[in-house]
Amino acid sequence: MRKIYGFHGGIHPPENKHQSLRSPIADAGIPPELVIPLSQHIGAPSRAVVAVGDRVLKGQMIAEPSGFVSVPVHAPTSGTIAAVEDRQIAHPSGHAAPCIVIASDGRDQWIEHGGKADYTSLDKAELLERIRNAGIAGMGGAGFPAAVKLSVKPDIKIETLIINGTECEPYITADDVLMRERAGEIIEGTNILRHIVQPHETLIGIEDNKPEALAAMRAAAEGSDIDIVEFPTKYPSGGEKQLIEILTGKQVPSGGLPADVGVICQNVGSAVAIRDAVVDGRPLISRITTVTGEGVAQPQNFEVLLGTSMHYLLDKAGYSAEKNRRLIMGGPMMGFTVPSPDVPIVKTTNCLLAPAESELPTPPPAQACIRCGMCAEACPVTLLPQQMFWFAQGKEFEKLELHNLFDCIECGACSWVCPSNIPLVQYYRASKAEILQLRRDTEKSEHSRIRFEARQERLAKEEAEKEAKRAARKKAAEERAQQAATAGGDEDPIQAAIERAKAKKAAQQAGGGEVSELEKLEKAVATTRKRLETATGKLETAKAEGSDLVEALQTGVDKTKAKLEAAEKALHDYQQANSGEQAKPAAPTDAAQAAIEKAMAARAADASLSPEDKARGQLEKLRQRLEKSRTKLAESRENGDEEKIIEALEATVERLSQKVAEAEKQLQETEGA
């Protein structure tokens, strides 16, 4: 016999479970219209992948997950997509949310699907993928995606796998009947989970108020090493952290996850859904929901398609609206009043409670807290509900956090025992929401502050750069003015610039079209040559780096070379044509033109030479100049010229000899290359 630990506090509300246990699970059938909300789980809402008018088959994915903590949604039956729009959903706010509406065709035609009976041949990642693709999200009521819960970090060793068959809330019997009728499937699902998690021990925790379920589960688990643990009934034993404490004695740390103490917990409903997904390839499209309360004639459990209207389901159980004042989704402790009976059943709807006023009366008005301390005695998380109540009233959020408000599981035990009928849980829920909002605001304001400061910094930097440029310009202008003052007396620099520009313009006009034509050609030659140089440079670097652009660059260089030749030829032709017609009359009048032409001709000649020849020519020229300078120097010495002149000539000779030496060296290098 396994040791049963306990947890602090807890309460024993009237169970009221027998009403819905009189008959077996009934099939709720196919309603004419199914409204499937895109967000039935905790995490990012799914994204619709169907359009209005599409025909869908049973089990077809109609919405895909939009993140890691998200699950897909599947069509619960075959039919046509009637709408993708906002519809009112089962939520305490009564707000509408995006839903896919399917008009069912009644044929219930399955999409092609297949599972793998021999799941042991699949590895962990593949199984998790199947569970995720089946859209399984916490059937216990919270709606946390099962695959996310099961994908623990590889460095965490899971000691214990717990299957939660506790169902501690009054009225709800969905898990109870599931264990009675489908114990084999639960065990099969548990074995799949064991294969994924590889725990040391596997426990199925069931309260002692479900003897039939216990017997059925024990029979199904016969021969396996799955331990069915029976323990005394107390609310809220079904809370994940409470159940872990009962079965293992370990407490999940504040703000932590069960995996932190080496435990993974799954609901029995999830175990069956996982079995269906893996073995049959059947996604999560239906669930077992308890319909109970004095508002219905035959309280019982239904296997219901997700998206079925609550009203449709209630009618199956003989609902009388006049008997029932408010409809509750979930149990009387943690459930909430739904805005209207027309909202759909979702993955987390474990119970529809339609109580009569006498059964679950409107809470009487809250009175002053008398500081009796019963709430602290009842709290299963050992919090101090009374203190938190005061702080919540005073909006002292910091103190609330210090009192571990976020560990509150909102089980409602404190409100249930409160002799003053204070709706304590509502205070905690509201405070939690406000603290979360405050945290978001602080985060946002911190973000804004960083952005603001970054902008200020950027603006300051830009301003400083501008200032520096301005200062540099000012300094340059001052220097120019000073130079102008020293060189040309008090001549106005602006006036001088204007005059220069005028002179240039006049010269251009005087030169006429011929000169500009020549200039154009010259320019073309010069730019093409420049381009060729850069292209060659690039080609060489590309070759050195072994880039794959070499070929492209080679063709580029070749093309540029051809262009250069063409340009030079054009220039040459033009010059010849002009010299034929104009050279004679122009030559005596325009010495400058002649010089340019000579230079051009020389350059044209140069261009056709190889670099080696060029260098050789250069050297030859330099040698000639050196020779000339030497003779001049000798003449000056003979003539007995002034010392200054001789010195200057000597310096020239020296310089030229240096240049000659340099040119020789260059030539050698070119030849060597």
Partner: protein, 204 residues
Amino acid sequence: MTDLFAQYPLLTALIALVTLGAVFGAVLGFAAERFKTEGNPIVDQINAILPQTQCGQCGHPGCRPYAEAIANGEAINKCPPGGEAGIQALADLLDVEAIPLDEEHGEESVKKVAYIREPECIGCTKCLQACPVDAILGAAKQMHTIITSECTGCDLCVEPCPVDCIDMVPAEEEGLQSWHWELPDPVARKVEIIATDAPRDEAA
């Protein structure tokens, strides 16, 4: 030595006190140099409370300048985006009386974000220059748009727009995502001293 101290108790006391004074003085002096705080720490604390909308409604060019001004004795009630909660937090921090918001600087309102009616935008970049947190995306002669997640709702881009195509819209629409439980309202729940008493409106 002991005899000497016993003989001149007054002198001994004097020497002891002077020595102690010198030692502690040296320690304090060293600590003052070694652990010197850069800037004014209270400004950072005030700045952390201010909402960082950078809206300038307080008359200062941004939240930090206002934080500096508060540290130098300016009134704490000039920040409408911070609202009463902000004033309360500042009052707690500075240990002064919380005073109501100065209406001169604007009223507390719901959080807003700017929204550019894009077909009307002419791409003048004037709003880009006005935005204190660079939350507007755009370039000259290109349509501009607000990066909603970065917008602080400061309102500063609305005035420079020459074609008046910027609206301030409530940041969060009333919906499922923004909904949360409210604190129980004791007035709505008709609190009675004795629960069995009939509510007043029914009795009357």
